[in-house]
């Protein structure tokens, strides 16, 4: 355990839940989410003195967002680290240190995207890879497909097992009125969907939506006096392993193994203490590998684990209860949404999908092509 255990809490959350919103820019989505998160915390824009954001379409996100929110002159700390969808948990790590050492008092982590209404494709970043680009792999799906193919080769994982991840996500989504996809989905539906990059079909891929999300962080002693149930951050850790998929040390083991172990050590919790889990499911293989790398099942047994129904409603491990990136929303970079669902569950505010008595939640985010990994452990007030 470290001095940071429980020192910082999530005081407010904001989620626009506008998954298909033509006529709004990415910044419009972000700004609405920031407003909602501050209102949820009982704070205002004037209270924010630290800003954390990343954008797939802007190389200067902190400057753009600070100007728009009207908070530029009051900022004392900021971080625009860009490591893909895991960026926002890297921001959480950065904000925790800054808050704990008094470099700032109210931190806003925020994101917005109009990916769906802007054309439905992932906006390519100016980040050329001359040794991979000539081979015309689809970015990012082919990288994840290569990892899935290797996992199948090493461990006998099957497409049917991967399909179970998408089916479980859909069943959770059907309990979340805000989830974008609600239609019934079967293993056969996933298998017979259009193959895009073998062995992954369209139904193994996350949604393409718009959306905006934000969280407000303060030191825990201040959060106690604010209006929401206390949700302290018990531990957080980050790890990176590569940029290009061919440089990944092993295609079947991610840096989640490092970020997860370090986050759990900081929090002083074991895998068996965790009541609720959010795993960044950009593709079905992600959920399966993160279950293994974080320690919820042995390496190579992720396929059998998900095929047993363990992560679906009624299973013994509640995973991606909002429906995940596969069925709830995926606005380009999804990491912040994992944190938000963890907070909702720990507040006991998840309605039909509520995990009764949830005290400790793990939120895990991924970025690039399995390149960056970040794990946060959140708790309720009783876990301090």
């Amino acid at each position: 355990m470290s001095d940071l255990r429980g020192a910082i809490s999530v005081a407010g959350i904001g989620n626009t839940q506008r998954w298909n919103a033509p006529g709004r820019t990415a910044f419009d989505q972000l700004q609405e989410a920031a407003f909602l998160a501050l209102e949820d915390a009982g704070l205002g824009m004037g209270d924010v003195d630290a800003l954390y954001c990343a954008h797939s379409t802007s190389g200067l996100p902190v400057l753009n967002v600070a100007e728009r929110l009207g908070i530029a002159a009051q900022l004392r700390h900021a971080d625009g680290t860009m490591v893909g969808g895991a960026s926002f948990l890297f921001h959480l790590r950065s904000a925790m240190s800054a808050l704990a050492t008094g470099q700032c008092d109210v931190a806003l982590v925020c994101y917005g995207s109009n990916q769906r209404s802007a054309g439905g494709k992932l906006t390519p970043m100016p980040d050329p890879q001359p040794f991979e680009a000539p081979y015309k792999a689809l970015y990012p799906i082919s990288s994840y497909a290569l990892a899935a193919a290797r996992h199948m080769y090493e461990y006998g994982t099957t497409r049917e097992q991967l399909a179970n991840v998408a089916v479980a996500a859909r069943k959770w989504a059907q309990k979340n009125p805000a989830a974008h996809e609600q239609a019934d989905l079967s293993v056969q539906d996933v298998l017979s969907a259009r193959m895009i990059s073998d062995p992954l079909t369209k139904a193994d891929c996350c949604l393409v939506t718009d959306g905006g999300a934000a969280v407000v962080l303060t030191r825990t002693e201040r959060a106690r006096d604010l209006q929401q149930p206390l949700v302290p951050v018990l531990g957080c850790s980050v790890a990176v392993s590569h940029r290009q998929i061919a440089a990944m040390p092993s295609l079947t083991e991610t840096a989640a193994k490092r970020s997860g172990a370090a986050a759990m050590a900081e929090a002083g919790v074991n895998i068996g203490d965790i009541d609720h889990v959010m795993l960044y499911d950009a593709f079905t293989i992600c959920t399966l590998m993160f279950l293994e790398d974080l320690g919820f099942c042995p390496k190579g047994e992720g396929g059998a684990f998900v095929a047993s129904g363990a992560i679906a409603p009624g299973g013994h491990l509640a995973v991606n209860t909002n429906g995940g990136g596969l069925s709830c929303n995926h606005p380009g970079m999804y990491g912040l949404f994992t944190l938000i669902e963890s907070v909702i569950q720990l507040r006991g505010a998840a309605g039909e999908r509520q995990i009764e008595g949830a005290e400790i939640s793990l939120a895990h985010a991924n970025g690039g092509v399995l390149s960056s990994q970040a794990t946060a452990i959140l708790g309720t007030g009783t876990t301090l």
Binding site: Y135, A137, L146, D198
Partner: protein, 130 residues
């Protein structure tokens, strides 16, 4: 008199690698101090941090480490990660067989494909090694 560090003089490793490829040589980098090969070519050794790993002709053989068939409206083609005999892996394409018949573990042999604007390292299934 120069003010720059001579260990880093001359064209950068990517430019030198590309120049060798244009002359028909597929190269990998070798770090002499730690005896490790690396790809793609960069300015320092990723294993020990030493400057200026040297470019040497690759053995040109390897095995398929991972493979996918990319399916677009126009075509289906292979994208594979090849583990080179020297150790490093690289993204490439296995040619000469249907994309869905490329198998992990298959031995492959490098070839420089000059069909396009730029020469490209691709691989053929090495039947005689299978």
């Amino acid at each position: 008199m120069t003010t720059t560090d001579p260990r880093f003089d001359g064209p950068g490793p990517e430019a030198r690698w590309t120049e060798m490829l244009k002359r028909g040589v597929f190269a990998v980098q070798h770090c002499i101090p730690c005896d490790t090969a690396q790809f793609p070519p960069v300015t320092t050794c990723r294993t020990c941090g030493a400057p200026d790993p040297v470019l040497i002709p690759a053995k040109g053989i390897g095995t398929v480490y991972a493979t996918t068939t990319v399916r677009t409206r126009e075509a289906a083609y292979d994208v594979s990660i090849i583990e080179l005999a020297e150790g490093p892996r690289m993204m490439s394409r296995v040619e000469g067989v249907e994309a869905e018949n490329v198998r992990i573990g298959q031995p492959v042999r490098a070839r420089i494909n000059t069909d396009g604007e730029m020469p490209l390292v691709v691989f053929d299934v090495a039947g005689d090694l299978a």
